[in-house]
Amino acid sequence: MKKVQKEKLEDLFERLAGDGVLYLPLEEDGVVNFAPWKKGARVNLEALNTVLPPKRAIFPQTETYMRFETDGKKLQIEQVEPVEGNYFLFGVRPCDMAGIKVLDKVFLDEPEDDIYSRRRQAGTILSLGCNDPHVSCFCSAFDLEPGFAPDADVALWDVGEVLLWKPLSEKGEKLTSSVEDLLEDASAEEERAAEEQRNSAAATVAAAAREHGWNVEGVEEALQDMFEAELWDKLYRRCLGCGICTYICPTCHCFDVEDFGKWQEGERFRCWDSCMFEEFTLHASGENPRPTQKERVRQRFMHKLCYYPSNFEGLYACVGCGRCVRQCPVSIDITQVIKEVGGVKSGS
Protein backbone atom coordinates (compact mmCIF):
# COMPACT_ATOMS: atom_id res chain seq x y z
CA MET A 1 0.00 0.00 0.00
CA LYS A 2 1.11 3.55 -0.79
CA LYS A 3 0.40 6.87 0.86
CA VAL A 4 0.46 10.53 -0.01
CA GLN A 5 1.24 13.23 2.52
CA LYS A 6 -1.62 15.70 2.83
CA GLU A 7 0.83 18.54 2.40
CA LYS A 8 1.68 17.08 -0.98
CA LEU A 9 -1.94 16.91 -2.11
CA GLU A 10 -1.72 20.28 -3.81
CA ASP A 11 1.16 18.94 -5.93
CA LEU A 12 -0.78 15.80 -6.67
CA PHE A 13 -3.83 17.81 -7.75
CA GLU A 14 -1.69 19.95 -9.99
CA ARG A 15 -0.20 16.84 -11.58
CA LEU A 16 -3.57 15.20 -12.14
CA ALA A 17 -5.11 18.40 -13.46
CA GLY A 18 -2.26 18.59 -15.95
CA ASP A 19 -3.25 15.19 -17.25
CA GLY A 20 -7.00 15.74 -17.58
CA VAL A 21 -9.87 17.35 -15.74
CA LEU A 22 -9.66 16.75 -12.01
CA TYR A 23 -13.06 16.68 -10.34
CA LEU A 24 -13.07 16.76 -6.58
CA PRO A 25 -15.23 18.09 -3.76
CA LEU A 26 -14.86 21.87 -3.81
CA GLU A 27 -16.56 24.23 -1.42
CA GLU A 28 -18.29 27.32 -2.71
CA ASP A 29 -20.62 29.45 -0.57
CA GLY A 30 -20.72 26.63 1.93
CA VAL A 31 -21.91 24.15 -0.70
CA VAL A 32 -19.62 21.21 -1.44
CA ASN A 33 -19.83 19.71 -4.91
CA PHE A 34 -17.60 17.89 -7.34
CA ALA A 35 -16.15 20.51 -9.67
CA PRO A 36 -13.02 20.90 -11.80
CA TRP A 37 -10.03 21.78 -9.67
CA LYS A 38 -8.14 25.00 -10.25
CA LYS A 39 -5.21 26.34 -8.30
CA GLY A 40 -6.47 27.96 -5.13
CA ALA A 41 -9.79 26.09 -5.15
CA ARG A 42 -11.20 25.24 -1.75
CA VAL A 43 -10.93 21.46 -1.57
CA ASN A 44 -13.07 19.80 1.07
CA LEU A 45 -12.30 16.14 1.62
CA GLU A 46 -13.98 16.11 5.02
CA ALA A 47 -17.53 16.60 3.78
CA LEU A 48 -19.15 13.22 3.77
CA ASN A 49 -21.42 13.58 0.80
CA THR A 50 -21.33 16.33 -1.78
CA VAL A 51 -24.74 17.89 -2.37
CA LEU A 52 -24.84 16.44 -5.89
CA PRO A 53 -23.34 13.02 -6.48
CA PRO A 54 -20.22 12.73 -8.65
CA LYS A 55 -22.34 11.04 -11.32
CA ARG A 56 -22.56 14.37 -13.04
CA ALA A 57 -18.97 14.10 -14.22
CA ILE A 58 -19.98 11.01 -16.17
CA PHE A 59 -23.63 11.79 -16.77
CA PRO A 60 -23.87 15.59 -16.77
CA GLN A 61 -27.18 17.27 -16.04
CA THR A 62 -27.21 18.81 -19.51
CA GLU A 63 -25.31 17.31 -22.40
CA THR A 64 -25.48 18.31 -26.04
CA TYR A 65 -25.02 15.37 -28.39
CA MET A 66 -26.19 16.65 -31.73
CA ARG A 67 -26.18 19.79 -33.80
CA PHE A 68 -28.48 20.52 -36.69
CA GLU A 69 -28.85 23.01 -39.44
CA THR A 70 -31.85 23.56 -41.64
CA ASP A 71 -31.95 25.28 -44.98
CA GLY A 72 -35.32 25.32 -46.67
CA LYS A 73 -36.28 21.69 -46.90
CA LYS A 74 -32.74 20.50 -46.16
CA LEU A 75 -31.67 19.16 -42.80
CA GLN A 76 -28.15 18.46 -41.65
CA ILE A 77 -27.40 16.44 -38.55
CA GLU A 78 -24.05 16.15 -36.90
CA GLN A 79 -22.96 14.26 -33.82
CA VAL A 80 -21.32 16.21 -31.02
CA GLU A 81 -18.51 14.11 -29.60
CA PRO A 82 -19.07 13.45 -25.92
CA VAL A 83 -15.58 12.85 -24.62
CA GLU A 84 -13.46 15.71 -23.38
CA GLY A 85 -10.52 13.42 -22.75
CA ASN A 86 -9.08 12.12 -19.52
CA TYR A 87 -10.54 13.01 -16.18
CA PHE A 88 -10.12 12.01 -12.58
CA LEU A 89 -12.82 11.75 -9.96
CA PHE A 90 -11.04 12.23 -6.68
CA GLY A 91 -12.62 11.56 -3.30
CA VAL A 92 -15.65 9.58 -4.43
CA ARG A 93 -17.38 8.04 -1.42
CA PRO A 94 -18.03 4.29 -1.56
CA CYS A 95 -21.80 4.78 -1.80
CA ASP A 96 -21.35 7.09 -4.77
CA MET A 97 -19.03 4.57 -6.42
CA ALA A 98 -21.76 1.99 -6.02
CA GLY A 99 -24.15 4.52 -7.56
CA ILE A 100 -21.95 4.68 -10.64
CA LYS A 101 -22.12 0.89 -10.88
CA VAL A 102 -25.92 1.17 -10.85
CA LEU A 103 -25.74 3.64 -13.75
CA ASP A 104 -23.28 1.34 -15.57
CA LYS A 105 -25.86 -1.43 -15.65
CA VAL A 106 -28.37 0.81 -17.38
CA PHE A 107 -26.14 2.64 -19.79
CA LEU A 108 -23.67 -0.11 -20.67
CA ASP A 109 -26.36 -2.75 -21.12
CA GLU A 110 -27.26 -3.42 -24.77
CA PRO A 111 -27.75 -1.24 -26.70
CA GLU A 112 -24.80 0.46 -25.08
CA ASP A 113 -25.16 4.19 -24.57
CA ASP A 114 -22.23 5.51 -26.48
CA ILE A 115 -22.15 8.93 -24.84
CA TYR A 116 -22.03 7.47 -21.35
CA SER A 117 -19.69 4.64 -22.11
CA ARG A 118 -17.04 6.82 -23.69
CA ARG A 119 -17.18 9.24 -20.80
CA ARG A 120 -17.04 6.42 -18.30
CA GLN A 121 -13.99 4.89 -19.94
CA ALA A 122 -12.14 8.18 -20.02
CA GLY A 123 -12.25 8.55 -16.25
CA THR A 124 -10.19 7.22 -13.37
CA ILE A 125 -11.98 7.06 -10.05
CA LEU A 126 -10.23 7.51 -6.72
CA SER A 127 -12.54 6.66 -3.87
CA LEU A 128 -12.20 7.89 -0.33
CA GLY A 129 -13.35 5.67 2.54
CA CYS A 130 -15.72 7.18 5.10
CA ASN A 131 -14.40 7.38 8.65
CA ASP A 132 -17.36 8.96 10.31
CA PRO A 133 -20.71 8.13 8.71
CA HIS A 134 -23.71 10.40 9.21
CA VAL A 135 -26.82 9.33 11.06
CA SER A 136 -28.65 9.22 7.71
CA CYS A 137 -26.11 6.86 6.10
CA PHE A 138 -27.44 3.37 5.46
CA CYS A 139 -25.11 1.90 2.85
CA SER A 140 -24.66 -1.25 4.89
CA ALA A 141 -28.29 -2.10 4.20
CA PHE A 142 -27.19 -2.74 0.61
CA ASP A 143 -24.14 -4.77 1.56
CA LEU A 144 -21.85 -1.84 0.91
CA GLU A 145 -18.97 -0.91 3.11
CA PRO A 146 -18.66 2.75 4.11
CA GLY A 147 -14.89 2.48 4.34
CA PHE A 148 -14.13 0.82 1.02
CA ALA A 149 -15.25 0.91 -2.61
CA PRO A 150 -14.08 -2.25 -4.37
CA ASP A 151 -15.11 -0.95 -7.80
CA ALA A 152 -12.95 2.17 -7.74
CA ASP A 153 -9.63 2.40 -9.55
CA VAL A 154 -7.77 3.61 -6.48
CA ALA A 155 -8.93 3.39 -2.87
CA LEU A 156 -7.94 6.14 -0.47
CA TRP A 157 -8.18 6.34 3.30
CA ASP A 158 -7.71 9.41 5.39
CA VAL A 159 -5.60 8.54 8.42
CA GLY A 160 -4.69 11.93 9.76
CA GLU A 161 -1.60 13.40 8.13
CA VAL A 162 -1.65 11.12 5.12
CA LEU A 163 -4.02 9.56 2.63
CA LEU A 164 -3.39 5.86 2.16
CA TRP A 165 -3.42 4.88 -1.48
CA LYS A 166 -4.20 1.47 -2.92
CA PRO A 167 -4.58 0.81 -6.62
CA LEU A 168 -7.44 -1.58 -7.36
CA SER A 169 -7.53 -1.78 -11.14
CA GLU A 170 -5.30 -1.58 -14.15
CA LYS A 171 -6.21 2.09 -14.55
CA GLY A 172 -5.37 2.57 -10.90
CA GLU A 173 -1.97 0.90 -11.29
CA LYS A 174 -1.21 3.07 -14.27
CA LEU A 175 -2.11 6.20 -12.38
CA THR A 176 -0.09 5.07 -9.39
CA SER A 177 3.05 4.64 -11.41
CA SER A 178 2.57 8.01 -13.10
CA VAL A 179 2.56 9.81 -9.73
CA GLU A 180 5.04 7.44 -8.06
CA ASP A 181 7.32 10.30 -7.04
CA LEU A 182 4.57 11.88 -4.92
CA LEU A 183 3.78 8.65 -3.13
CA GLU A 184 5.57 6.80 -0.36
CA ASP A 185 5.15 3.34 1.07
CA ALA A 186 2.64 3.20 3.87
CA SER A 187 3.74 1.91 7.24
CA ALA A 188 2.19 -1.14 8.82
CA GLU A 189 0.89 1.12 11.57
CA GLU A 190 -0.90 3.35 9.09
CA GLU A 191 -2.40 0.36 7.36
CA ARG A 192 -3.65 -0.87 10.71
CA ALA A 193 -5.16 2.54 11.43
CA ALA A 194 -6.99 2.48 8.13
CA GLU A 195 -8.23 -1.02 8.83
CA GLU A 196 -9.55 0.04 12.21
CA GLN A 197 -11.31 3.04 10.76
CA ARG A 198 -12.89 0.85 8.11
CA ASN A 199 -14.19 -1.51 10.72
CA SER A 200 -15.48 1.15 13.00
CA ALA A 201 -17.27 2.97 10.17
CA ALA A 202 -18.88 -0.28 9.11
CA ALA A 203 -19.91 -1.00 12.67
CA THR A 204 -21.46 2.47 13.06
CA VAL A 205 -23.64 2.12 9.98
CA ALA A 206 -24.54 -1.47 10.78
CA ALA A 207 -25.57 -0.49 14.29
CA ALA A 208 -27.76 2.31 12.95
CA ALA A 209 -29.29 -0.12 10.46
CA ARG A 210 -30.11 -2.52 13.25
CA GLU A 211 -31.53 0.21 15.44
CA HIS A 212 -33.75 1.62 12.69
CA GLY A 213 -34.67 -1.69 11.14
CA TRP A 214 -33.19 -0.97 7.73
CA ASN A 215 -33.21 -4.44 6.32
CA VAL A 216 -33.69 -4.71 2.59
CA GLU A 217 -33.87 -8.46 2.50
CA GLY A 218 -37.01 -9.48 0.69
CA VAL A 219 -38.05 -5.91 -0.03
CA GLU A 220 -38.01 -6.48 -3.78
CA GLU A 221 -40.28 -9.52 -3.51
CA ALA A 222 -42.59 -7.83 -1.03
CA LEU A 223 -42.99 -4.79 -3.26
CA GLN A 224 -44.05 -6.94 -6.18
CA ASP A 225 -47.39 -7.37 -4.45
CA MET A 226 -47.59 -3.85 -3.11
CA PHE A 227 -48.54 -1.81 -6.15
CA GLU A 228 -51.92 -1.09 -4.60
CA ALA A 229 -50.68 -0.89 -1.00
CA GLU A 230 -52.00 1.72 1.40
CA LEU A 231 -48.47 2.84 2.05
CA TRP A 232 -48.47 5.00 -1.07
CA ASP A 233 -51.69 6.76 -0.07
CA LYS A 234 -50.01 7.90 3.11
CA LEU A 235 -46.66 8.73 1.68
CA TYR A 236 -47.48 10.90 -1.29
CA ARG A 237 -49.71 13.34 0.51
CA ARG A 238 -46.97 15.54 1.85
CA CYS A 239 -44.82 15.28 -1.30
CA LEU A 240 -44.28 18.69 -2.86
CA GLY A 241 -43.57 17.18 -6.27
CA CYS A 242 -40.16 18.79 -6.53
CA GLY A 243 -37.20 16.98 -8.05
CA ILE A 244 -34.69 17.19 -5.21
CA CYS A 245 -34.70 13.49 -4.33
CA THR A 246 -34.11 12.40 -7.90
CA TYR A 247 -31.57 15.03 -8.92
CA ILE A 248 -29.35 14.51 -5.89
CA CYS A 249 -29.58 10.74 -6.16
CA PRO A 250 -26.43 8.88 -7.26
CA THR A 251 -28.51 6.18 -9.00
CA CYS A 252 -31.25 8.18 -10.71
CA HIS A 253 -30.61 8.20 -14.42
CA CYS A 254 -33.83 9.25 -16.15
CA PHE A 255 -33.33 11.86 -18.79
CA ASP A 256 -35.24 14.03 -21.20
CA VAL A 257 -34.29 15.02 -24.72
CA GLU A 258 -34.91 18.53 -25.94
CA ASP A 259 -33.97 20.76 -28.85
CA PHE A 260 -32.67 24.26 -28.57
CA GLY A 261 -32.96 26.13 -31.82
CA LYS A 262 -32.15 29.56 -33.11
CA TRP A 263 -33.18 30.40 -36.63
CA GLN A 264 -31.74 27.74 -38.91
CA GLU A 265 -29.46 26.04 -36.46
CA GLY A 266 -29.53 24.49 -33.07
CA GLU A 267 -28.64 21.60 -30.92
CA ARG A 268 -30.20 18.63 -29.25
CA PHE A 269 -29.29 17.81 -25.69
CA ARG A 270 -30.27 15.36 -23.05
CA CYS A 271 -30.77 16.44 -19.48
CA TRP A 272 -31.78 14.94 -16.19
CA ASP A 273 -35.48 14.48 -15.73
CA SER A 274 -37.49 13.48 -12.72
CA CYS A 275 -40.31 10.98 -12.28
CA MET A 276 -41.60 13.37 -9.60
CA PHE A 277 -42.77 15.82 -12.28
CA GLU A 278 -46.22 15.66 -13.84
CA GLU A 279 -44.76 16.29 -17.31
CA PHE A 280 -42.53 13.22 -17.05
CA THR A 281 -45.17 10.86 -18.41
CA LEU A 282 -47.67 13.35 -19.81
CA HIS A 283 -48.71 12.40 -23.35
CA ALA A 284 -49.10 15.03 -26.02
CA SER A 285 -52.78 14.05 -26.04
CA GLY A 286 -53.17 15.19 -22.43
CA GLU A 287 -53.44 11.63 -21.13
CA ASN A 288 -51.18 10.78 -18.18
CA PRO A 289 -50.60 7.23 -16.96
CA ARG A 290 -49.32 8.67 -13.67
CA PRO A 291 -51.91 11.37 -13.10
CA THR A 292 -51.26 12.28 -9.45
CA GLN A 293 -48.31 12.58 -7.11
CA LYS A 294 -49.26 9.24 -5.62
CA GLU A 295 -48.32 7.31 -8.75
CA ARG A 296 -45.12 9.32 -9.08
CA VAL A 297 -43.98 8.73 -5.52
CA ARG A 298 -44.77 5.05 -5.92
CA GLN A 299 -42.81 4.91 -9.15
CA ARG A 300 -39.72 6.36 -7.50
CA PHE A 301 -39.64 3.81 -4.70
CA MET A 302 -40.78 0.92 -6.88
CA HIS A 303 -38.11 1.68 -9.44
CA LYS A 304 -35.33 1.76 -6.89
CA LEU A 305 -36.42 -1.15 -4.76
CA CYS A 306 -38.39 -3.42 -7.09
CA TYR A 307 -38.27 -2.79 -10.84
CA TYR A 308 -34.55 -2.15 -11.07
CA PRO A 309 -33.56 -5.18 -9.01
CA SER A 310 -35.94 -7.33 -11.09
CA ASN A 311 -34.11 -6.25 -14.21
CA PHE A 312 -30.58 -6.43 -12.82
CA GLU A 313 -30.20 -9.60 -10.76
CA GLY A 314 -31.44 -8.28 -7.47
CA LEU A 315 -29.22 -5.21 -7.36
CA TYR A 316 -31.08 -2.36 -5.64
CA ALA A 317 -30.98 1.08 -7.25
CA CYS A 318 -30.31 2.67 -3.89
CA VAL A 319 -26.90 2.83 -2.26
CA GLY A 320 -27.84 4.29 1.09
CA CYS A 321 -26.01 7.60 0.69
CA GLY A 322 -28.79 9.32 2.62
CA ARG A 323 -28.92 12.42 0.42
CA CYS A 324 -32.67 12.24 -0.14
CA VAL A 325 -33.20 11.54 3.55
CA ARG A 326 -31.35 14.72 4.44
CA GLN A 327 -32.58 16.96 1.65
CA CYS A 328 -36.27 16.21 1.25
CA PRO A 329 -38.03 19.38 2.46
CA VAL A 330 -40.82 17.29 3.96
CA SER A 331 -38.78 14.31 5.15
CA ILE A 332 -40.03 11.63 2.79
CA ASP A 333 -37.59 8.98 3.88
CA ILE A 334 -36.71 5.90 1.86
CA THR A 335 -35.56 4.11 5.00
CA GLN A 336 -39.07 4.43 6.39
CA VAL A 337 -40.36 2.81 3.22
CA ILE A 338 -37.85 0.00 3.51
CA LYS A 339 -38.79 -0.49 7.12
CA GLU A 340 -42.48 -0.48 6.43
CA VAL A 341 -42.23 -2.84 3.46
CA GLY A 342 -39.99 -5.16 5.43
CA GLY A 343 -42.49 -4.99 8.23
CA VAL A 344 -45.34 -5.82 5.90
CA LYS A 345 -43.42 -8.85 4.73
CA SER A 346 -42.55 -10.25 8.10
CA GLY A 347 -46.09 -9.58 9.28
CA SER A 348 -47.69 -11.49 6.44
Binding site: M66, L75, P82, D114, H253, F255, D259, R270, D273, Y307
Partner: protein, 276 residues
Protein backbone atom coordinates in the same frame (compact mmCIF):
# COMPACT_ATOMS: atom_id res chain seq x y z
CA UNK B 1 -14.86 8.52 -37.15
CA UNK B 2 -16.41 7.83 -33.81
CA UNK B 3 -19.13 5.31 -33.31
CA UNK B 4 -22.65 6.58 -33.87
CA UNK B 5 -24.66 7.34 -30.76
CA UNK B 6 -27.88 5.38 -30.24
CA UNK B 7 -29.64 8.71 -29.84
CA UNK B 8 -28.49 10.15 -33.14
CA UNK B 9 -31.07 10.16 -35.96
CA UNK B 10 -30.37 9.77 -39.68
CA UNK B 11 -31.65 12.24 -42.19
CA UNK B 12 -34.64 11.03 -44.22
CA UNK B 13 -36.91 12.62 -46.79
CA UNK B 14 -40.66 12.94 -46.64
CA UNK B 15 -41.41 11.71 -50.14
CA UNK B 16 -45.14 12.17 -50.06
CA UNK B 17 -47.90 13.26 -47.71
CA UNK B 18 -51.48 12.10 -47.84
CA UNK B 19 -54.30 13.71 -45.90
CA UNK B 20 -56.25 10.84 -44.33
CA UNK B 21 -58.70 12.70 -42.11
CA UNK B 22 -58.98 16.33 -41.03
CA UNK B 23 -56.25 15.77 -38.43
CA UNK B 24 -54.37 12.70 -39.66
CA UNK B 25 -51.80 12.59 -42.43
CA UNK B 26 -49.76 9.68 -43.74
CA UNK B 27 -46.12 10.46 -44.40
CA UNK B 28 -44.05 8.34 -46.77
CA UNK B 29 -40.42 8.45 -45.70
CA UNK B 30 -37.36 7.39 -47.70
CA UNK B 31 -33.60 7.73 -47.41
CA UNK B 32 -32.07 10.79 -49.10
CA UNK B 33 -30.58 8.48 -51.75
CA UNK B 34 -33.90 6.64 -52.13
CA UNK B 35 -35.02 3.38 -50.59
CA UNK B 36 -35.98 2.43 -47.07
CA UNK B 37 -34.14 4.03 -44.15
CA UNK B 38 -34.08 0.64 -42.41
CA UNK B 39 -35.79 -2.76 -42.32
CA UNK B 40 -38.40 -3.50 -39.66
CA UNK B 41 -40.96 -6.01 -38.54
CA UNK B 42 -44.66 -5.16 -38.21
CA UNK B 43 -45.48 -3.38 -34.96
CA UNK B 44 -42.10 -1.72 -34.56
CA UNK B 45 -41.74 2.03 -34.19
CA UNK B 46 -39.40 4.83 -35.12
CA UNK B 47 -38.45 8.16 -33.64
CA UNK B 48 -39.12 11.00 -36.04
CA UNK B 49 -37.11 14.16 -35.48
CA UNK B 50 -38.19 17.60 -36.50
CA UNK B 51 -35.46 19.96 -35.34
CA UNK B 52 -35.83 22.44 -33.69
CA UNK B 53 -38.98 21.11 -32.02
CA UNK B 54 -37.76 17.70 -30.96
CA UNK B 55 -38.43 14.07 -31.49
CA UNK B 56 -41.39 11.74 -30.97
CA UNK B 57 -42.13 8.07 -31.47
CA UNK B 58 -44.54 6.71 -34.07
CA UNK B 59 -45.50 3.26 -35.19
CA UNK B 60 -44.64 2.24 -38.72
CA UNK B 61 -47.81 1.67 -40.70
CA UNK B 62 -46.30 0.19 -43.85
CA UNK B 63 -45.56 -3.51 -44.11
CA UNK B 64 -41.93 -4.66 -44.32
CA UNK B 65 -42.92 -6.17 -47.64
CA UNK B 66 -43.10 -2.66 -49.07
CA UNK B 67 -39.50 -2.45 -50.12
CA UNK B 68 -39.00 1.18 -50.99
CA UNK B 69 -40.26 3.27 -48.08
CA UNK B 70 -41.71 3.54 -44.57
CA UNK B 71 -45.17 5.00 -43.96
CA UNK B 72 -46.36 6.77 -40.82
CA UNK B 73 -49.95 7.80 -40.12
CA UNK B 74 -49.83 10.64 -37.64
CA UNK B 75 -52.45 12.59 -35.69
CA UNK B 76 -51.80 16.27 -35.13
CA UNK B 77 -51.62 16.61 -31.37
CA UNK B 78 -48.32 18.00 -30.02
CA UNK B 79 -45.34 20.11 -31.01
CA UNK B 80 -43.63 17.53 -33.23
CA UNK B 81 -46.85 16.50 -34.94
CA UNK B 82 -47.84 20.14 -35.45
CA UNK B 83 -44.56 20.63 -37.23
CA UNK B 84 -45.01 17.50 -39.33
CA UNK B 85 -48.47 18.57 -40.34
CA UNK B 86 -47.09 21.87 -41.60
CA UNK B 87 -44.27 20.59 -43.80
CA UNK B 88 -44.49 19.85 -47.51
CA UNK B 89 -43.28 16.96 -49.59
CA UNK B 90 -39.53 16.91 -49.98
CA UNK B 91 -38.80 18.10 -46.46
CA UNK B 92 -36.02 16.35 -44.62
CA UNK B 93 -36.57 15.03 -41.11
CA UNK B 94 -34.59 12.83 -38.75
CA UNK B 95 -35.40 9.16 -38.24
CA UNK B 96 -34.19 6.65 -35.69
CA UNK B 97 -35.22 3.01 -35.56
CA UNK B 98 -36.47 0.38 -35.72
CA UNK B 99 -37.52 0.46 -32.07
CA UNK B 100 -39.47 -2.07 -30.03
CA UNK B 101 -40.26 -5.76 -30.33
CA UNK B 102 -42.93 -5.89 -33.05
CA UNK B 103 -45.78 -8.35 -33.55
CA UNK B 104 -45.06 -12.09 -33.25
CA UNK B 105 -45.51 -12.66 -37.00
CA UNK B 106 -43.70 -16.00 -36.87
CA UNK B 107 -45.44 -17.40 -33.79
CA UNK B 108 -48.93 -16.83 -35.16
CA UNK B 109 -48.30 -18.52 -38.52
CA UNK B 110 -51.05 -20.94 -39.40
CA UNK B 111 -53.58 -19.23 -37.15
CA UNK B 112 -56.71 -17.31 -37.98
CA UNK B 113 -56.30 -13.65 -37.21
CA UNK B 114 -58.80 -11.13 -35.93
CA UNK B 115 -57.70 -7.50 -36.12
CA UNK B 116 -59.72 -4.96 -34.13
CA UNK B 117 -58.74 -1.35 -34.67
CA UNK B 118 -60.16 2.00 -33.65
CA UNK B 119 -59.29 5.39 -35.16
CA UNK B 120 -55.57 5.94 -35.49
CA UNK B 121 -55.09 2.52 -33.85
CA UNK B 122 -55.21 1.01 -37.32
CA UNK B 123 -51.75 2.43 -38.01
CA UNK B 124 -49.66 -0.33 -36.38
CA UNK B 125 -52.19 -3.05 -37.32
CA UNK B 126 -51.97 -2.15 -40.99
CA UNK B 127 -48.31 -3.06 -41.06
CA UNK B 128 -49.20 -6.54 -39.81
CA UNK B 129 -52.30 -6.89 -41.98
CA UNK B 130 -50.47 -6.09 -45.19
CA UNK B 131 -47.63 -8.35 -44.15
CA UNK B 132 -50.14 -11.20 -43.84
CA UNK B 133 -51.61 -10.50 -47.26
CA UNK B 134 -48.15 -10.51 -48.78
CA UNK B 135 -47.54 -13.88 -47.12
CA UNK B 136 -51.13 -15.04 -47.52
CA UNK B 137 -50.46 -18.79 -47.38
CA UNK B 138 -48.85 -18.50 -43.94
CA UNK B 139 -52.02 -17.35 -42.22
CA UNK B 140 -55.58 -18.65 -41.97
CA UNK B 141 -58.83 -16.69 -42.08
CA UNK B 142 -58.38 -12.95 -41.59
CA UNK B 143 -61.10 -10.78 -40.04
CA UNK B 144 -60.65 -7.07 -39.82
CA UNK B 145 -62.97 -5.01 -37.63
CA UNK B 146 -62.39 -1.28 -37.77
CA UNK B 147 -64.31 1.47 -36.06
CA UNK B 148 -64.03 5.23 -36.22
CA UNK B 149 -66.08 8.09 -34.85
CA UNK B 150 -67.34 9.05 -38.31
CA UNK B 151 -66.58 7.88 -41.84
CA UNK B 152 -64.43 10.98 -42.23
CA UNK B 153 -62.23 9.80 -39.37
CA UNK B 154 -61.38 6.52 -41.09
CA UNK B 155 -57.79 6.21 -42.22
CA UNK B 156 -56.35 4.14 -45.09
CA UNK B 157 -59.71 4.16 -46.88
CA UNK B 158 -58.34 2.52 -50.00
CA UNK B 159 -57.23 -0.50 -47.98
CA UNK B 160 -60.46 -0.63 -46.01
CA UNK B 161 -62.88 -0.25 -48.88
CA UNK B 162 -61.04 -1.64 -51.90
CA UNK B 163 -57.93 -3.69 -51.34
CA UNK B 164 -58.58 -5.70 -48.20
CA UNK B 165 -62.14 -6.87 -49.04
CA UNK B 166 -60.78 -8.38 -52.28
CA UNK B 167 -58.27 -10.55 -50.44
CA UNK B 168 -59.02 -14.28 -50.28
CA UNK B 169 -60.48 -15.74 -47.10
CA UNK B 170 -60.86 -12.28 -45.62
CA UNK B 171 -63.72 -10.29 -44.14
CA UNK B 172 -63.65 -6.59 -43.40
CA UNK B 173 -66.21 -5.13 -40.97
CA UNK B 174 -66.44 -1.37 -40.73
CA UNK B 175 -68.43 0.60 -38.19
CA UNK B 176 -68.89 4.16 -37.03
CA UNK B 177 -69.81 5.34 -33.54
CA UNK B 178 -72.83 7.41 -34.48
CA UNK B 179 -75.35 7.64 -37.30
CA UNK B 180 -74.30 10.16 -39.86
CA UNK B 181 -75.24 11.30 -43.30
CA UNK B 182 -73.79 9.36 -46.21
CA UNK B 183 -73.02 6.27 -44.12
CA UNK B 184 -75.28 3.31 -44.71
CA UNK B 185 -72.97 0.81 -43.06
CA UNK B 186 -72.88 -0.42 -39.51
CA UNK B 187 -73.37 1.97 -36.62
CA UNK B 188 -72.00 0.55 -33.37
CA UNK B 189 -69.07 0.84 -31.03
CA UNK B 190 -66.33 -1.55 -32.03
CA UNK B 191 -66.51 -3.71 -28.86
CA UNK B 192 -70.29 -4.17 -29.28
CA UNK B 193 -69.95 -5.00 -32.96
CA UNK B 194 -67.24 -7.48 -32.09
CA UNK B 195 -69.52 -9.34 -29.71
CA UNK B 196 -72.38 -9.20 -32.21
CA UNK B 197 -70.18 -10.79 -34.87
CA UNK B 198 -69.57 -13.66 -32.44
CA UNK B 199 -66.05 -14.55 -33.45
CA UNK B 200 -64.97 -17.89 -32.11
CA UNK B 201 -61.69 -18.28 -30.28
CA UNK B 202 -60.61 -21.61 -31.82
CA UNK B 203 -57.17 -21.37 -33.42
CA UNK B 204 -57.52 -17.60 -33.48
CA UNK B 205 -55.31 -14.72 -32.33
CA UNK B 206 -56.74 -11.25 -31.86
CA UNK B 207 -54.65 -8.17 -32.43
CA UNK B 208 -56.15 -4.92 -31.20
CA UNK B 209 -55.15 -1.29 -31.07
CA UNK B 210 -57.12 1.87 -30.51
CA UNK B 211 -58.03 4.44 -27.89
CA UNK B 212 -57.57 3.13 -24.32
CA UNK B 213 -61.31 3.13 -23.65
CA UNK B 214 -61.98 1.00 -26.75
CA UNK B 215 -59.25 -1.47 -25.80
CA UNK B 216 -60.71 -1.78 -22.33
CA UNK B 217 -64.14 -2.77 -23.66
CA UNK B 218 -62.72 -4.94 -26.44
CA UNK B 219 -60.77 -6.93 -23.87
CA UNK B 220 -63.91 -7.40 -21.80
CA UNK B 221 -65.87 -8.46 -24.85
CA UNK B 222 -63.22 -10.93 -25.97
CA UNK B 223 -63.13 -12.39 -22.49
CA UNK B 224 -66.89 -13.01 -22.64
CA UNK B 225 -66.46 -14.58 -26.07
CA UNK B 226 -64.05 -17.12 -24.67
CA UNK B 227 -60.73 -15.73 -25.82
CA UNK B 228 -57.95 -16.42 -23.34
CA UNK B 229 -55.55 -13.60 -22.44
CA UNK B 230 -52.68 -15.14 -24.39
CA UNK B 231 -54.83 -15.10 -27.53
CA UNK B 232 -55.07 -11.33 -27.40
CA UNK B 233 -52.26 -9.06 -28.52
CA UNK B 234 -52.18 -5.30 -28.22
CA UNK B 235 -49.69 -2.53 -28.71
CA UNK B 236 -49.14 0.33 -26.26
CA UNK B 237 -48.03 3.87 -26.53
CA UNK B 238 -46.33 5.85 -23.76
CA UNK B 239 -44.30 9.02 -23.67
CA UNK B 240 -40.79 8.08 -24.75
CA UNK B 241 -37.54 9.90 -25.23
CA UNK B 242 -34.70 7.50 -25.93
CA UNK B 243 -36.55 4.50 -27.33
CA UNK B 244 -33.76 2.18 -26.22
CA UNK B 245 -34.53 1.50 -22.56
CA UNK B 246 -32.38 4.14 -20.91
CA UNK B 247 -34.32 7.32 -20.29
CA UNK B 248 -36.63 5.67 -17.83
CA UNK B 249 -40.06 7.10 -18.54
CA UNK B 250 -41.96 4.46 -20.47
CA UNK B 251 -41.81 1.72 -17.89
CA UNK B 252 -44.86 -0.16 -16.72
CA UNK B 253 -43.54 -1.92 -13.68
CA UNK B 254 -40.25 -3.52 -14.66
CA UNK B 255 -41.10 -3.60 -18.37
CA UNK B 256 -40.04 -0.86 -20.72
CA UNK B 257 -42.54 -0.25 -23.49
CA UNK B 258 -39.77 0.88 -25.85
CA UNK B 259 -37.80 -2.36 -25.71
CA UNK B 260 -40.02 -4.99 -24.07
CA UNK B 261 -43.00 -3.64 -26.04
CA UNK B 262 -44.81 -1.91 -27.54
CA UNK B 263 -46.46 -5.25 -28.37
CA UNK B 264 -47.74 -7.21 -25.39
CA UNK B 265 -50.21 -10.04 -25.02
CA UNK B 266 -53.13 -9.41 -22.75
CA UNK B 267 -51.72 -12.19 -20.57
CA UNK B 268 -48.54 -10.16 -20.14
CA UNK B 269 -50.50 -6.99 -19.37
CA UNK B 270 -52.39 -8.79 -16.63
CA UNK B 271 -49.05 -9.44 -14.95
CA UNK B 272 -48.10 -5.77 -15.13
CA UNK B 273 -49.28 -2.90 -12.94
CA UNK B 274 -52.23 -1.05 -14.51
CA UNK B 275 -50.21 2.08 -15.25
CA UNK B 276 -50.75 2.73 -18.96
Amino acid sequence: MARKSTLLPEVAVVESIRQETPNIKTFRVVSPGGGKPFEHIPGQCAMLSTPPVGEAIFSITSSPTEKEHLDFSIVQTGTVTNYLHEIEEGFEIGIRGPLGNGFPVEEVKGKDLLFIGGGIGLAPLRSFINYCFDNREDYGKIDILYGARTPDDMIQKKDLFELWPQQPNTDVYLTVDKECEGWDGKVALAPHYCEELAFTPENKVTVTCGPPIMIKFVLEALDRMGFTPDQVITTLELRMKCGVGKCGRCNIGEKYVCIDGPVFTYAQLLEMPPEY
